[in-house]
Symmetry: C2
Subunit: 202 residues, 2 copies
């Protein structure tokens, strides 16, 4: 082998990143060692720090450095509204709109039988505890509009409407329709059909 | 900010990787912390290990864990042949063919005025020392066939042919032409022109 063992090792480790194949991993390894040693140290220390400090928020199940995350411990959020999302990135996408002021629950995944992920692998027990513990008035199902996301939303709808304790909670789903700026001509048929079926009174 | 500080930090650190933008960095950060903590530890420790152990080989300037890399210290290589390449990845590409048995010199870059890289930023002093120190019979210029690579090859040709001490050294350039499996119809005009100009006797 002509490559140094440490580089070979680094290349193999980087190849576990999502979306990074062997060629990109090699490029990254050489780049970090040859061009950006400071950046490389920063990645290593950020990784170790995150691994040591990140846990799940006791209430919303999101990644957090504290037992209760900043959102859940904020007095300015509406604690009676609970928006259920799949991942921290989805939460982030909603936060960036600035239009939602309630709280969240992060499932950390979706029901996906093909990947072996069933309801038991999601934080659903935790969710039920949260619903018992806090006074929730509305649950917004904000899982993605993919097959897995829809399945998860349907599963949650069945589960939650079946519970006596939470029958007074309003259960909603994010709107489906034509995206802002979208032209009907170029939007897929299913979306257009949905947009017509779920039309709103103006 | 709704995201944990440690995750934000990690995302910023990962965004310095080549070809990784803010969205990919975020995806990587969440993936590592949520799905592959073992992989994350492996990356951190491989990075630290590589940073601590990797230096430049005293002879070929390639990345190496030892003062003299495995290729340069191997008795089975032809030490009188020196192939000059731009990067460790190029060296690797030649090694993978298995058809070259000589030694290398890695410039760790090319002359690229637009990026502010001149001859002084490449390991050319080191190269001249190597030529003085070892008995070299042939130098193969294997920089890429890009504008920068060609400029570097021309610069090296001028420099080396001007030196008295190395006037007996055979200086060659890797062949330009139609790639194996290539069809003339689909190859760019410059390459076809080169392939005809530089035709070989069969």
């Amino acid at each position: 082998m002509s490559t140094a063992h440490a580089i070979e090792n680094l290349r193999a480790a980087l190849a576990c990143l999502p979306g990074v194949g062997p060629k990109s991993a090699q490029r990254m390894a050489y780049y970090l060692i040859e061009r950006d040693r400071q950046g490389a140290r920063a990645i290593a220390s950020a990784l170790n720090h995150a691994l040591d400090s990140i846990q799940h928020c006791r209430r919303c199940n999101n990644l957090s450095e504290t037992e209760l995350c900043t959102l859940c411990s904020s007095a300015s959020r509406k604690h009676s509204q609970l928006c259920i999302v799949e991942t921290p990135a989805d939460l982030e996408a909603i936060e960036q709109t600035g239009s939602y002021k309630g709280c969240y629950f992060v499932l950390m995944g979706t029901i996906s039988p093909l990947d072996g992920i069933g309801p038991d692998n999601l934080g659903i027990d935790r969710l039920l505890e949260v619903l018992d513990e806090f006074e929730i008035e509305e649950i917004i199902l904000a899982t993605n509009l993919t097959v897995e996301g829809e399945t998860t939303a349907e599963y949650l709808t069945d589960l939650l409407t079946g519970k006596d304790t939470i029958k007074d909670i309003k259960l909603t789903r994010i709107a489906r329709g034509v995206p802002v700026g979208g032209e009907l001509e170029y939007i897929d048929r299913n979306t257009v059909a949905r947009a017509i079926d779920e039309r709103r009174k103006v």
